[in-house]
């Protein structure tokens, strides 16, 4: 194999693929990135066995071939090369080295055979559809904070993507709170199986979406999902489990409505929760006619109260929430009219932007 590639092109490709490579792995080849020529381009591929990222880059290929080399090391080297440099990659047949030459720099990297590189073999995708990158990004932004990190409930360790009526919907929950976002079902998604996309894949995808404004081609099967974003393809296994029947826990009849400006609410929660130094403390919301009093009482730390003007006409009540959960949700809301729909101090509460019916959050209260 022998090729010459522009440094910027190489850096971009490596930047996209290397982040799936685990820094510590017991299987040596998984630390590597695979380079494989394909006509006038070269394909980069990295995997952690759960997911793989493939990127195409333009190169001047003089001798076709394939090889794998340590991904992070190659990435680090390329990062340190000067802007605009030409890089020559060359592997002598039967040599377990890849030489990288650029200007006066010369590196020889330990190579492993490309034949041994694992292939995720994406298989048949039963459904495929197109979706705007910004929509997909929004979907992730608004839900991923609620993904559970508790490994024993593995089926909650991802975002549940599925169809609901005429919508494509994403849901994440850790059992304490739930986030749900939906948008109009794209053509081709109808009838697709509900899939749970693992957290790491979600984060990879989010990262890849940052560089693009175009649309994303999504392929779905029972076991895998594939995202084609420009020249990058991310394929991932899915979490094999059934997502709980979340719809049951979204209250439909909460009749006490609280209207509040998100900015005011967010900064008030942020201030009072300074006292709630640890995760075991609640922010108490006391509701009265058009008045919301936020308070935190930490027997070891002190106490804090703050009053804000709100719209509230129902009977007075009190309810406590985990400060961090409130902040997480407030971070997703945008409008000046956020609606809380409450029932009582022990029941789930629904939060949403009044102007935006597509996103909704459910929060379980805390009790002392």
């Amino acid at each position: 194999m022998r090729l010459v590639i522009e440094r910027g092109e190489l850096l971009r490709a490596l930047g996209h693929v290397t982040s799936v490579v685990e820094r510590r792995t017991t299987i040596p080849i998984l630390s590597n990135v695979m380079l494989k020529t394909a006509g006038a381009s070269v394909e980069f591929k990295a995997t952690d066995l759960e997911r793989e990222v493939i990127e195409q880059a333009n190169a001047e290929v003089t001798q076709p071939g394939a090889v794998t080399v340590p991904a992070h090391m190659l990435h680090d080297i390329v990062r340190k090369l000067p802007d605009g440099a030409q890089v020559e990659l060359k592997r002598e047949p039967d040599k377990d080295r890849l030489t990288l030459t650029s200007g006066t720099s010369r590196f020889a990297l330990q190579a492993l055979s490309a034949e041994d590189f694992p292939d995720l073999s994406p298989g048949e995708m039963t459904h495929s559809f197109e979706i705007g990158a910004s929509e997909l990004k929004r979907l992730i932004d608004k839900t991923r904070f609620a993904i559970s990190t508790e490994e024993t409930r593995y089926y909650l360790n991802g975002i549940y993507l599925h169809t609901a009526g005429h919508a494509l919907r994403a849901v994440a929950t850790d059992g304490h709170r739930l986030a749900q976002v939906e948008f109009e079902m794209p053509a081709g998604a109808d009838g697709m199986p509900g899939i749970i996309v693992p957290r790491k894949t979600v984060n990879e995808l989010h990262r890849l979406l940052e560089d693009t404004g175009a649309s994303v081609q999504v392929g779905v099967s029972k076991a895998k999902v594939r995202f084609e974003i420009g020249t990058v393809t991310l394929t991932s296994k899915l979490i094999d489990g059934s997502f709980p029947d979340y719809d049951r826990v979204i209250p439909k009849n909460n009749d006490k409505e609280l209207h509040v400006s998100n900015a005011a609410f967010k900064s008030a929660v942020d201030r009072v929760s300074t006292i709630a130094s640890e995760r075991g403390r609640a922010v108490k919301l006391a509701l009265d006619a058009d008045k919301l009093t936020l308070s935190v009482n930490n027997p070891e730390g002190g106490s804090a109260t703050e009053e804000i003007d709100v719209g509230y006409k129902a009977a007075a009540m009190e309810i406590g929430f985990n400060a961090r959960y409130l902040l997480d949700i407030a971070g997703q809301l945008e409008s000046d009219d956020v609606v809380f729909k409450l029932a009582d101090s022990g029941s789930p509460t629904v939060v949403r932007d009044s102007a935006d019916a597509t996103a909704l959050y459910v929060l379980m209260p805390m009790r002392v």
Binding site: R24, H176, R177, E278, R279, G280, P299, M364
Partner: protein, 613 residues
């Protein structure tokens, strides 16, 4: 059948049956007599497990001929003044031991009263007293017992092996030696020199040195001194750090007015005082000396005097608990010194540094410097400006942290000097995603992040419990946990207690429970695992344990589930926050399983490893 008066021999033999159960009992009576006689050196020799020979020689005040003749008479004692059984200041008081022994063996007593020129000897052969005769003896008293139990063959049948008898004898002498550090002891059983205990210098150090000879060098390194007095009851002694523990109570000693006793009171008090500092099924090492006005205690409740009865047992108990708690709180987060010593020893073994003696002495230096510098372990809140100081150098340095090796996460910049002054220092790196390495002005501290965090979560739980403010996070979807019938039942039985700790659950069909709320402190936690562990805890603890103990067990299980696991990468600020919290938390020196949470290597010790000293 006719009723007849028992002969004096028979009476003595019956008494002997109570006083002298086995050879060790004879040794006990004789050594006690020697101690009562003010001996400074006591030499004990036995042969044939004590059946063929027991000889106890002392350098006490001895007896003149008249006393000697009286000593072997029943109920003859020089010790009970005014016949007041409630004012006993000596180990002996009944005047029963020597005649009892004389009735079941060949007893020879040689004695020379202090300041007199001649010594006398008397023998009692299975109850038959001989005449006094002069003998040669430099000083004190020498008592020989041969052919023990030859007059009561039934007893002989019950004797255990020679080894077992030797062990019992050694145990007896040890206990008496612990209470009398200024007396030198030597014990030879058969061919073996079992004990050689030189006179210890007076004072606390001397006493600890004696205890160390008997309870082990670890105890000496890890013992806390305690001393307290209230209303005529005085408790002194030494208690081991909770990290030094063993599976039985064999190393827990109680002495009442210098008398070794076995009393359930001690077991209970120790458990109450150490409480959750020590893992289940493990026991600390300690030796406590209770001194009360003789009228406050009845020692005449057991023929061999191994039990006593306090007039006010509750006061003694509370004083013991108070003394132990005080000492333990003072020790704060001081971890086991043997941890550091063991670390050094391990290093020494690898590097081939001249090991044994060096590491032993460093262990002492370690514990010493430790005990002095570790006093203020109570939550001293960070002085103003500290938070800024903590963040300033670190947050910056973590940006470039990506590029470093995965195994070690170092903090590149020099740590803030005021962090170096803190007891646990400034975090410098995390290694193996499990240990935090921190630097102080003169040492390196290694912290086990999981163990430490577990303790902190646990202490937070307890604090919340104490203020009655455990918060519960509701679950959107109740978690159903299949546990088995017995487990589901015991969980349901304790659902009130569990709710108080933040876990709300209810029965769900047979053999399952539905969890509705979890302790908020635990965050997003493994509920299944937690509930299974709790059920197992509750089943095994049974109903016998006090509620508080049960709650603590539950807390500790919950804490374990809520802690940072080994293997989690921590950022610099996270590491420093953990260290600061450890400093502010009492008892953070060991995790709930009694393992140390951190060890410290003094620079001087490290220098020694490299042969720089």
């Amino acid at each position: 059948m006719t009723i007849r008066q028992l002969s004096p021999e028979t009476i003595n033999r019956i008494a002997a049956g109570e006083v002298v159960e086995r050879p060790a009992s004879v040794v006990k009576e004789l050594v006690e007599n020697a101690i009562d006689a003010g001996a400074r050196d006591i030499d004990v020799v036995t042969a044939g497990g004590g059946l063929s020979l027991i000889r106890v020689a002392d350098d006490g005040h001895g007896m003149g001929p008249t006393d000697l003749a009286l000593a072997v008479e029943r109920h003859a004692t020089s010790k009970l003044t005014d016949d007041d059984l409630f004012d006993i200041r000596t180990l002996g008081f009944r005047g029963e031991a020597l005649p009892s022994i004389g009735s079941i063996a060949l007893l020879t007593i040689q004695s020379r009263a202090h300041g007199t020129p001649e010594a006398h000897e008397i023998t009692v052969a299975r109850g038959a007293k001989s005449a006094l005769k002069p003998t040669a003896l430099n000083r004190g008293t020498c008592i020989e017992v041969r052919e023990l139990f030859s007059a009561t063959p039934a007893r002989l049948k019950f004797m255990k092996s020679e080894r077992a008898e030797n062990q019992a004898t050694t145990e007896v002498v040890r206990r008496l030696a612990m209470a009398n550090p200024q007396v030198g002891f030597s014990l030879t059983t058969g061919e073996r020199a079992s004990l050689r205990l030189p006179q210890a210098p007076p004072g606390t150090d001397g006493h600890l040195a004696r205890l160390g000879r008997i309870m082990g060098a670890d105890f000496m390194a890890d013992a806390l001194h305690l001393s307290g007095e209230r209303e005529g009851v005085r408790v002194t002694g030494f208690a081991g750090l909770p990290t030094l523990n063993r599976p039985d109570t064999a190393m827990q000693f109680l002495f009442v007015n210098g008398r070794p006793v076995r009393d359930k009171l001690l077991v209970g008090a120790v458990r109450a005082a150490y409480g959750d500092l020590i893992p289940k099924g493990r026991h600390p090492l300690l030796a406590l000396f209770v001194d009360v006005d003789p009228p406050e205690v009845d020692v005449n409740v057991h023929p061999a005097k191994v039990e006593v009865r306090f007039r006010d047992a509750a006061r003694v108990r509370s004083l013991i608990i108070g003394g132990l708690r005080g000492a333990l709180d003072q020790a704060g987060h001081r971890a086991s010194a043997s941890g550091g010593a063991a670390t050094l020893a391990a290093f020494a073994a690898v590097t081939g540094v001249q090991g044994a003696s060096g590491s032993a002495s460093s262990a002492q230096a370690w514990s010493h410097s430790n005990s002095q510098s570790w006093r203020p372990s109570r939550p001293v809140h960070a002085p103003t400006g500290f938070a800024e100081a903590m963040q300033a150098p670190l947050t910056g340095s973590f940006a470039g942290f990506d590029a470093t090796s995965a195994d070690t996460s170092p903090i590149a910049h020099a740590p803030a000097p005021d962090l170096l002054d803190r007891p646990l220092g400034a975090a410098r790196a995390q290694v193996h995603a499990t240990y935090i390495v921190a630097q102080t002005q003169n040492s390196v501290v290694i912290v086990d992040q999981h163990a430490a965090h577990e303790r902190l979560v646990y202490e937070r739980f307890k604090a919340m419990l104490a203020t009655g403010s455990v918060t519960r996070q509701g679950l959107l979807i109740p978690e159903i946990v299949e546990v088995g019938e017995a487990e589901a039942e015991v969980l349901a039985d304790h659902s009130m207690d569990l709710a108080e700790l933040g876990l709300a659950l209810e029965p769900f069909g047979t053999g399952a429970v539905a969890v509705r709320e979890v302790p908020a402190l635990l965050g997003d936690t493994d509920i299944q695992g937690l509930v299974h562990d709790l059920a197992a805890d509750l089943l095994h603890e049974g109903a016998s344990k006090r509620l508080r103990d049960r709650l603590e067990a539950v807390c500790s299980t919950m804490a374990c589930h809520g802690s940072v696991r080994a293997g989690r990468r921590l950022t610099g600020p996270e590491m420093n926050a953990l260290l600061r919290e450890m400093e502010a938390t009492p008892n953070s020196g060991q995790c709930n399983h009694g393992r140390p949470t951190w060890v410290e290597l003094k620079l001087t010790d490290i220098e020694r490893l490299f042969g720089r000293r």
